[in-house]
Amino acid sequence: MGNIGLVSLMSPATSHVYIVDDEASVCLAYARLVRSAKMQPHAFASVEDFLNSDFTVENACVVSDIQMPGTNGLELPRLLKQAGYSLPVIYVTAHDTPETRDCAQQIGAAAYFRKPVDAQALLDAIHFALRRRTN
């Protein structure tokens, strides 16, 4: 990761972005974007993979797909809450329907985007979610 890794390690308050998407190429692209903003990306192919990982809730947020094999992305806030965690979740989906949008809003999503999402919009949403949390 070179310089980027160094920068993130050097930063006292490293931000962690957990990317959950079954599409490997999408995961990788988001990870690069997150790194370009000097944050630490972590990629997962499913909700289960993420929940079973050693994630932190400090200075962190989730960027998740919705339609995935296994658990649906919209289940994530409930499952996190069940496990006693609180993490902001940003949705980025290829299936943008009014129903999913409403559902995401109801379950308290930090943001909701349709794929393909603009880098600045996504990064702004990530920063906003992290700041709100810190505050």
Binding site: G2, N3, I4, V7, E23, S25, V26, L28, A29, Y30, R32, L33, R35, S36, A37, Q67, M68, P69, V92, A94, H95, T97, R114, K115, P116, V117, D118, A119, Q120, L122
Partner: protein, 565 residues
């Protein structure tokens, strides 16, 4: 005569006898002249005597004929052998009988039923030939007409028999052959079948036979109105008929001019009708000379037209049916794709999302001057790959939605399964269905229209998906399997849905049967048509432990390399 031979020498008796003989001969000759055509030639065939009837029929004066060779009246109709045989007979001193076609001075031909009596000199050499003939022109004409009529009736009988159950691919050549037979039977020079093209108003020549010496007709009638009168007449369902172009009415003067420019002499055009509507016409023409159309000939030609009309009508109906099937199949493809819209959006949005994020990440790395060349190269490679992926999705989409006739190629069923499964994956995901694909280790290739087989797969998978809407989550899986069975490859799709109600098992592949509330209900009928067009078979049954199983088999292409799963 008897008395003379008995040696009676009284001068008075001889005188009386001679007088009687001369009188009898004169009377006989007068009677003969009244009845027959008489000509006498010398041993060389030069005319020495002709009676009035002979002169009248041949159209020559006596002076013009006397001293001429008898060939002056010949028509050129008979082969050389005909006259050689005649000469051989009469030179032997034997009487000859035969029918001779002669030509008059004005060029018209006539037939003579002729008896030639040779008279020999004392040495047995021919001295002169007396030809006694009757004019049998009318009799010959009637005979020819009868023979022609018989041939035409035979032809009609043959035609009716021939066109029954004729495979559609042979219809065109059979029609052309028929046109030729009609032309030959009726001594015509050109027979043409004109048809109205679908949705158009002009007649197009679809079949034509003509004697090779004549110029070829243009395939389209001129649209400048120069044949309006004739076309309008035929399109009204009337017969256009003329022996001579001069017979056409004044209002058809432009038609007449055009016909003259085509070299037409006589013509009969009979409309082709289907359910009271004119959809074409059969045109019969002479170019070499004018021809009268006898009433019974017109009747026979109408019958021919009727037969061809039925055949062509059948052909057109089949064509329409094909077009309709094509339309339906297209509509169904579009409907299928409608159902797949969200899946397609997903398929396109995924690579687009990756491309955008990759490009913008790279842009940010460069702006911060914090990048490694390898990282940028990897980003660009990924962008290129995702772009190609999106392109492939669009390409497949186009191929599936396009209204073109699919071409067949040698391909492996597995490739098709992979392509369709890729396309369906997200739709399945959305429906919470797991796709379990079990492909045979290796499969012989098939010769198939990829798009069509993909459509079958798509239809069957979509049906399976719809059938499982009420299925408990744990059982929501579709099994797709392939295997080789003898000379066929078999693909089966098994779902865990509501199955097929027993009374509908037999009709499930019939058109317009559908248990779905949405959809055109033609999906399975199109599947069956496609599979059967590929020489295969499709079947459906219920499984004992629930759900339906659809299976189709397609014969393998000629031996080739096996494709791995």
């Amino acid at each position: 005569m008897i008395k003379a031979s008995q040696g009676l020498h009284e001068p008075q008796e001889i005188d009386d006898t001679l007088r009687t003989w001369i009188q009898e001969a004169t009377e006989l000759k007068a009677a003969l002249d009244e009845h027959a055509i008489v000509a006498i030639t010398d041993a060389q065939g030069c005319i020495t005597f002709v009676n009035d009837k002979c002169c009248a029929l041949a159209g020559y004066s006596r002076e013009e004929l006397l001293g001429q060779n008898h060939r002056i009246m010949g028509s050129g109709h008979h082969p050389t052998e005909f006259f050689r045989e005649m000469w051989r007979t009469i030179l032997r001193g034997v009487v000859w009988h035969g029918d001779i076609k002669n030509r008059a001075k004005d060029g018209s031909d006539h037939w003579l039923g002729t008896t030639i009596v040779p008279f020999l000199d004392d040495a047995g050499r021919p001295r002169q030939f007396v030809a006694i003939s009757a004019d049998i022109t009318e009799q010959k004409r009637v005979e020819a007409r009868l023979a022609e009529k018989q041939r035409l009736q035979q032809l009609l009988a043959d035609l009716s028999a021939r066109f029954v159950a004729l495979p559609s691919e042979e219809i065109d050549s059979a029609i052309e052959d028929t046109l030729r037979l009609i032309a030959e039977t009726l001594s015509l020079d050109r027979c043409t079948l004109w048809q109205l093209k679908a949705g158009e108003r002009d007649l197009v020549c679809t079949h034509c036979w003509q004697r090779p010496e004549w110029p070829v007709m243009p395939p389209h009638l001129p649209m400048d109105g120069s044949i309006e009168w004739s076309v309008a007449k035929v399109m009204k369902g009337e017969i256009l008929l003329f022996q001579s172009i001069d017979d056409l009415p004044p209002e058809a003067s432009r038609d007449a001019a055009l016909f003259r420019s085509y070299g037409l002499k006589s013509k009969i055009t009979i409309p082709l009708l289907a359910r009271g509507r004119v959809f074409g016409a059969l045109a019969f023409s002479t170019l070499a000379g004018e021809r009268a159309w006898a009433e019974d000939e017109v009747t026979e030609l109408k019958l021919v037209t009727q037969i061809i009309s039925n055949v062509v009508g059948r052909q057109r109906a089949e064509l329409r049916e094909d077009q309709l099937r094509e339309e339906l199949s297209h509509a169904q493809r579009v409907a299928t794709l409608g159902e797949l819209a969200s899946a397609l959006a997903h398929e396109l949005n995924q690579p687009l999302a990756a491309i955008l994020s990759n490009a913008q990440a790279a842009r940010r790395f460069i702006a911060d001057r914090e990048f490694e060349q390898d990282e940028l190269a990897a980003i660009l490679d990924d962008i290129a790959r995702d772009d190609k992926r999106a392109g492939a999705v669009i390409h497949n989409l186009r191929a599936m939605i396009c209204k073109r006739t699919a071409t067949r190629e040698i391909c492996c069923l597995h490739e098709l399964v992979h392509e369709v499964v890729d396309l369906m994956r997200s739709a399945m995901l959305e429906a919470g269905i797991e796709l379990r694909v079990q492909l045979a280790p290796a499969l012989l290739p098939v010769e198939a229209a990829r798009v069509e087989l993909q459509q079958v797969l798509l239809n069957l998978l979509l049906n399976a998906t719809h059938a499982m809407e009420q299925t408990p989550a744990a059982l929501r899986f579709i099994e797709v399997a392939t295997q080789e069975q003898g000379v066929a490859v078999v693909l089966s799709i098994r779902d865990r849905g509501h199955g097929i109600s027993p009374e509908r098992l037999d009709t499930i592949f019939d058109p317009f049967y559908s248990t779905k509330s949405s959809g055109l209900g033609v999906g399975l009928s199109i599947c069956r048509r496609i599979i059967e067009n590929h020489g295969g078979h499709i079947e459906a049954r219920n499984c004992e432990d629930g759900g339906a199983l659809f299976r189709f088999s397609i014969p393998t292409a000629s031996p080739g390399p096996r494709a791995a799963a």
